[in-house]
Symmetry: C2
Subunit: 230 residues, 2 copies
């Protein structure tokens, strides 16, 4: 049923912006694009764009992410909505920000050439960003640091099969501090939602066992009122 709309005042434009996190075994990275249009032409910015009338906000975020970075099928979650007048010189633009976590094998090839449109940047060494995107990125980082401690989202930044050392290095990179190896493993394995596979890493040294995250098991544990916390 369509009811006539009694409100026909000017409306803000509505966009979505995505903070895309990646982890390459070294440090936490963020995917930025170079703007191809004014305003802020040539500046680094978060991927994002305008919300279409017939799509959900989540759909808009996923669509823009794929259009601008060719990344799809990733963990994506709404972060916060930024709507200060003046955040966009074109006029009133309200942006629903999202953050995404992508596995290494889902990373786009960046090439690191000047011609590339999207490129990974270490969070420790970010360029100046367009609009209020630096603020959005900070908010996303805070959220990630907070959330990773009590929700099993770290797995979204690792390959499907990973070593416990990789997992620990991820936590060290995000939380920004060293963690004791034995205590970390003890606690992690005690949760009982990491299952060892029969595969091992190859390489120069002793092979490390590969584990995978058993989401089904986690969900059933979480449902029984168990608390994950690292």
């Amino acid at each position: 049923m369509l009811v006539p709309f009694t409100y026909d005042y000017p409306r803000p434009a509505l966009t979505v912006d995505c903070v895309v996190f990646g982890f390459d075994g070294d440090g936490l990275q963020v995917l930025l694009i170079r703007r191809g249009i004014e305003p802020h032409l040539g500046a680094w910015a978060l991927p994002g764009g305008f919300v279409h009338m017939e799509e959900t906000l989540d759909q808009a975020a996923r669509r823009e992410l794929e259009e601008e970075t060719h990344i799809k099928d990733v963990f994506l979650e709404q972060l916060f909505t930024f709507g200060n007048p003046g955040r966009d010189p074109r006029g009133r633009v309200v942006s629903v920000a999202y953050y995404a976590l992508v596995r290494p094998d889902q990373h786009t090839a960046t090439g690191d050439t000047d011609a590339s449109e999207a490129a990974w940047h270490p969070v420790e060494k970010l360029p100046a960003l367009a609009f209020d995107h630096a603020e959005i990125l900070c908010t996303a980082l805070d959220r990630l640091r907070g959330k990773i401690r009590y929700q099993p989202i770290g797995f979204e930044l690792l390959p499907k099969h990973f070593t416990l050392t990789q997992f620990q290095e991820l936590y060290e990179a995000i939380l920004g501090r060293r963690i004791d190896k034995r205590n970390f493993r003890k606690k992690l394995l005690a949760f009982d939602f990491l299952v060892p596979t029969d595969d091992f890493t190859a390489g120069a040294h002793r092979p490390a066992r590969l584990y995978r995250f058993d989401r089904r098991r986690y969900d059933s544990l979480a449902h029984k009122g168990f608390l994950f916390e690292l």
Copy 2:
């Protein structure tokens, strides 16, 4: 600097909605208003309304809250943005939801008469709500339950001066379980940001000491990397 706008496609309408929590010593309550216009005329709904072009989202939420419920100067925090097409029969309306915590002395007189526009409802016994407001309310409740455990926001639901028993009853009401009195007090006072006043409750039984929350002290402790958790 104003840059010409290259995007002139249709825009969603943008609203704010507020989930207003109150605590009266018995149970957790939510403030609802009866809709005076279509759609959902006469139904219970969250206070809220359209965002103006020159105000921030926070300002819009505070303005609507005061216009519709005469409540102001309260704790208010952005919750989540709801934007599914179809959530409003009038067309595409995206709503930035907020939640507010109000102290008993800031409560509006509800009167509980049929003529009243706004009324408190216990969260355990809510009426049917307009739009997707039931979903918004659930999201707010989840957030409150989560956040109250590691942020000192409970004080926003109590008078400036309160007894430890009141504080405990608040936690029991929100978390939905009984808490051991001695352990609760021991832990709470050990944090050292509750300061005893010289006042006591009067009444039929042994008077209880009144405490107040020392925000300055909390902030300085929190800044030194201390963690509040109950």
